[in-house]
């Protein structure tokens, strides 16, 4: 190659070359930098404007909203606290005592539900203003459902990452067939559900023992994982009515427990899917070494695996928390009165013929955003840290 094609001096290069070539390895060219910054600014405006708009709208009132749009407080319009006062001042029990009582009520009512097959305890009724009520409901439901979901989901994901399962296809089919038989026996032949289930279960174990070894085809961990994530492919609206009926049958409608169970189950696939990847990427020698050192499987999970997947765990927790916090569809069906959550409060401000109370809605939205931001700040501390540094190799 001739040396003429090398342009060592800046002066040898044309303007276009200088614009479109990166000045150094690991940097981007001036033209690309310009485009990137432009796009980022547009994107930031797109993302930040709604938040700005919600915040200023919460300081407007009926008049300033309806005469609007006004963009800049104090210049365009005079902000006031009308929307906020409506939330906190016009109703009784809007104080911290109300919140404390509400948390007590949560545990008392959950206990009442759990013990209901044995003893009848009258559940307490909430005595608290609407906004605090919805806020405490949201907190309780999202924290507990997230905790259940993460605990169960991460253990399932770890098992799928480290243990080879080989369920026989024939056995699964037998289970499905027996389930269908139970449904028929219960609904058409009038057999009590507990009797038919018990017989079916016994029959299932018998059939698996007898014929299980003759089945050839079996599924692997990948199939199980896909089956789990496929639960999430189904739109929730499809299953919401069956779920409503199920909770009606067991008398759990409009309780915290119903929401916690549904949210935990609904987000389980996401947790399993995400955590599986984090677990699978851990160097297996660490666990093997701990195994040889005498640790139990649960001990290894708790003491070695979980600390090392903390960034992934924090990210998954945050995601699940946000999903639960924002959930609307199931809440509308399952929590219509006593356990209303924040998203329902927001939607309720669309007051039919009186129009939408934008200013009050905005105030509630601002209240709803704050805990999420706090959680995010708290959890990002764990997310970006090289915990695996020094685990393997020199």
């Amino acid at each position: 190659m001739s040396t003429a094609s090398f342009k060592f001096d800046k002066a040898d290069r044309s303007l276009m070359e200088r614009l479109f070539e990166p000045p150094a390895v690991g940097k981007i060219s001036p033209a690309a930098s310009l485009v990137a910054h432009f796009l980022l600014i547009v994107w930031s405006l797109f993302v930040l404007f709604p938040i700005y708009w919600v915040i200023i709208t919460s300081f407007k009132n009926a008049v300033t909203v309806n005469l609007g749009p006004f963009y800049i407080p104090f210049l365009d319009f005079q902000p006031d606290l009308d929307a906020w006062r409506t939330q906190f001042n016009t109703e009784p029990n809007c104080n911290f005592l109300g919140i404390a009582r509400q948390f007590g009520l949560f545990f008392y009512n959950t206990f009442a539900v759990i013990i209901s097959p044995l003893a009848e305890i009258q559940p307490m009724d909430p005595q608290i203003c609407k906004i605090y009520h919805a806020f405490t409901n949201s907190i309780v439901v999202s924290i507990f459902s997230t905790a259940f979901c993460i605990a169960i989901g991460s253990m399932a994901a770890y098992a799928l990452a480290r243990i080879q399962y080989k369920p026989k296809f024939g056995n699964i089919m037998m289970f499905v067939g027996l389930t269908v038989l139970v449904i028929f026996a219960t609904s058409y032949a009038g057999v009590p559900w507990w009797a038919s289930s018990a017989v079916a279960l016994a029959l299932f174990f018998f059939l698996v023992r007898a014929f299980g070894k003759h089945f050839k085809r079996s599924l692997g961990n990948g199939d199980i994982l896909f089956w789990i994530i496929s639960q999430r492919i189904l739109p929730p609206i499809v299953v919401v009515i069956p779920i409503y009926i199920m909770f009606q049958a067991v008398g759990l409608l409009d309780t915290h427990l119903a929401l916690i169970i549904v949210y935990a189950v609904a987000n389980l696939p996401i947790v399993v899917w995400l955590m599986h990847d984090f677990f699978a990427n851990l160097p297996i020698e660490l666990e093997e070494s701990a195994q040889l050192d005498g640790a139990t499987r649960l001990g290894i999970f708790w003491e070695i695996v979980l600390p090392l997947t903390r960034p992934g765990l924090a990210a998954t927790t945050l995601l699940t928390l946000i999903l639960n916090w924002n959930e609307y569809l199931f809440a509308v069906f399952l929590a219509y009165a006593k356990v209303q959550t924040m998203p329902i409060m927001v939607a309720a401000k669309n007051a039919g013929e009186k129009g939408i109370f934008w200013w009050e809605m905005s105030a509630i939205i601002v209240i709803m955003i704050i805990p999420v931001i706090l959680m995010a700040i708290l959890l990002t501390r764990f997310i970006s840290r090289g915990v695996l540094l020094g685990a393997v190799k020199g």
Partner: protein, 356 residues
């Protein structure tokens, strides 16, 4: 410390291992004496690590038995086998300090705190880590991490040590140092040790006995000196020694080995059409072309320091000759190679077996 250490024999009894349809170990029999330092030597894919993992319990054998002491541990969980293992990657817990790493085997056994601390101190002292107990693995150098892994293995005084290429991630100088440390430690503790490596120098320097594996089959089990001076087959002959044994293709006719026009007096007799003559570089010498057993030209010569390695091309094979350090020859010069008759080996080229 040396005193009460248990000396436990280990036995592989007709171990077979398949991964799907791939055969990794075939009828693998190996008896390891109490207190022995045994090295499993082989290229990658030879099944040596699989054998070690079967002994550790992290892998299950398709058939056969594993015995530690007089107990059959074939179906026993790893944690009940009373063994400890040093991994190639060290497998230190990155979120624990050096002290916590070393003490982990005792912690899971719920050993009392005071006892554990003194054990940690003692184990750390053995590998000169006392000053680093509060550090995290990421703050240590490769050699220090290696020593943490060793300390974690010795703290429990297991019946058997397993080491899976523990030195291969260290740089050359440190490797030599750690090799000596390891040998000294094993000698002091007297614990039965099984050490897997692909590095024949490690095998030669460390082992009481070397087991050489190739494609899942045990090729030779002998002391390092025996594997070097009396290789069982061509594979062992070429695997052991650096630079490897020279091979000359030809045929064995009576008491003579014939190759490329040359006739070499062989140490054995017989008639093999396709034979291979093996000779180690240090048993060859460069001489004037007329006086050499084999004649050729210099292909290249490399000064190592205390000697020069001369590669000679005789038109048929290339031979490496260990020549004096002041050897002077240019590429292409005609040269002769003299072979010492008592240090020649003859192998059957088709089976690789030694002809004795």
């Amino acid at each position: 410390m040396a005193a009460g250490s248990p000396k436990i024999p280990v036995r592989f009894d007709k171990i077979q291992k398949y991964f799907g349809t791939v055969k990794v170990l075939e009828e693998f029999d190996l008896d390891i004496a109490p207190g022995e330092f045994l090295v499993l030597l082989g290229a990658s894919g030879s099944g040596k690590t699989t054998a070690l993992r079967i002994l550790s319990g992290l892998e299950t054998a398709t058939a056969g038995r594993v015995l530690i002491g007089d107990r059959d541990v074939t179906n026993v969980l790893p944690k009940y086998r009373d063994i400890s293992m040093v991994f190639q990657s060290y497998a230190l817990y990155p979120h624990k300090t050096v002290a916590e790493n070393i003490g982990f085997p005792l912690k899971v056994r719920k050993v009392a705190k005071a006892e554990m601390n003194s054990a940690i101190r003692e184990a750390a002292a053995q590998v000169q880590l006392e000053d680093l107990l509060d550090r995290y693995p990421r703050e240590l150098s490769g050699g220090q991490r290696q020593r943490v892994a060793l300390a974690r293995a010795i703290i429990r005084r297991p019946s058997v040590f397993l080491m899976d290429e523990p030195l291969s991630n260290l740089d050359a100088k440190l490797r030599g140092y750690m090799r000596a440390e390891l040998k000294h430690m094993q000698q002091t503790l007297g614990t039965t040790t099984i050490f897997v490596t692909h590095d024949q120098i490690e095998a030669m320097t460390l082992a009481h006995r070397v087991a050489i594996l190739e494609r899942g089959v045990l090729q030779q089990l002998a002391t390092p000196a025996e594997t070097y001076n009396d290789p069982a087959n061509l594979f062992v002959a070429q695997f052991i020694g650096s630079p490897p044994m020279n091979t000359v293709r030809g045929s064995l006719e009576g008491r003579h080995f014939r190759t490329n026009g040359a006739r070499i007096e062989a140490p054995v007799g017989g008639r093999v059409d396709k034979a291979i003559l093996g000779v180690r570089p240090e048993d060859c010498s460069v001489v004037a072309p007329a006086r050499g057993t084999l004649k050729g030209v210099i292909y290249t010569s490399e000064l190592i320091g205390d000697h020069t390695l001369v590669t000679v091309d005789n038109g048929h094979d290339k031979l490496i000759v260990k020549a004096p350090k002041d050897f002077n020859g240019n590429q292409g010069d005609a040269i002769g190679v003299a072979l010492r008759r008592e240090h020649l080996y003859v192998f059957d080229a088709t089976t690789g077996k030694r002809i004795r």
